[in-house]
Symmetry: C2
Subunit: 201 residues, 2 copies
Amino acid sequence: MPRKTDARARAIATAQRLFRIQGYTATGLTQIIAESGAPKGSFYFHFPRGKAQLAEEAIDHYVAARIAVLRSISANTAGDALNFVQEIFRAFAAEMVASDFQYGCLMQNLANELPALDAELTKRVARGFVDSTEIVAEHFRGCGFTPARASSTAAALVAALEGARTIARLERTPAIFEALAEVSVPRLCEPVSFPDAQLRI
Amino acid sequence: MPRKTDARARAIATAQRLFRIQGYTATGLTQIIAESGAPKGSFYFHFPRGKAQLAEEAIDHYVAARIAVLRSISANTAGDALNFVQEIFRAFAAEMVASDFQYGCLMQNLANELPALDAELTKRVARGFVDSTEIVAEHFRGCGFTPARASSTAAALVAALEGARTIARLERTPAIFEALAEVSVPRLCEPVSFPDAQLRI
DNA sequence: GCCATACTATGGCGATCACCATAGAAAGAG
DNA sequence: CTCTTTCTATGGTGATCGCCATAGTATGGC
């Protein structure tokens, strides 16, 4: 028998949004149910394992969307590491501006809250990072990087992106993304021509 | 009349520790009071404004300690941007290993939880980032960087550090710090000699 | 001794937490 | 029609949340 309502999907979407804005612990099921417009009584029908199951599915959705974005940027900048990195910075910055810096990264929020709370969910978040980092590494390999160098560059980029989201959210400006691009991009991909080389030690 | 007990200081220290491990919302006053060994009834004597005041003082302590560490590393690597950055990575990684990756960064945890909860505390965390970034920028200026370049490099470094802590905590290994150093350090400070230049596009 | 201050103890406030038991409505399948 | 499955509604569980009122003890200055 097919589904009759979209209450389930709306609950997941609302959970994802609230977890990004407020965090996991600060978001009550009551609020999720109320804001999703879903009927109150049927929550444990759709999610028998409760809040943890809801978080699981929110993570899966978020990771899938993130990977899709990275794949899309990778496809549009094939073989071009510089452009790839720049486009990623631009996309992440644009998303934060669009939400007026209200949204954090779901994976980062959960990564900070879950280790002391739920080992299973924590592992799921960790897998999400590994998977999305792999997309980035794959692109770098396609640019001629050695596998080892592609992996470490990808890991560094992902870490910098997460940190940048924290800072940008606090300062309510995408300046940190520009600073990151400024600092990392020319050095990442161009072996010569340092305009300010005379300033170095 | 002078203080007679250290209940106040112990409450702040315990709050800082628990906020780093579990986050702000997930940490109840009950737990802080219990684990600090402080008497339960006198909490609102020491902190009339409640949990928010406790968080304020935890932030201040944390920021002060962080700035002290950065200043110390800066003094030990004066004029040397490469060594400065390497030592920072090393110090942050070592701290995480020492705590068996249980502790997150207090400022990052609060930065993700507080914007939707307490604007005043959020501003305080933001100020903490600005202040500690300024220490890093100052060091880079002392290495001959232009002020603009010193600032953006410092901002990028701080962002990368925060992101690295998230990743390292999830993966329970300091590998991400090594990846970051590998990727950023040689390019940050050396205008010539790229051992793998032939791999670039 | 006296009293103000520093601090502790107890208990409970209303609200919210995640969770669930029970019952029933709605609708396609046979 | 009946039966099964999908979904909703209501109401409440015990626990914990941050907060606070009240009362009491301890210890310094004078």
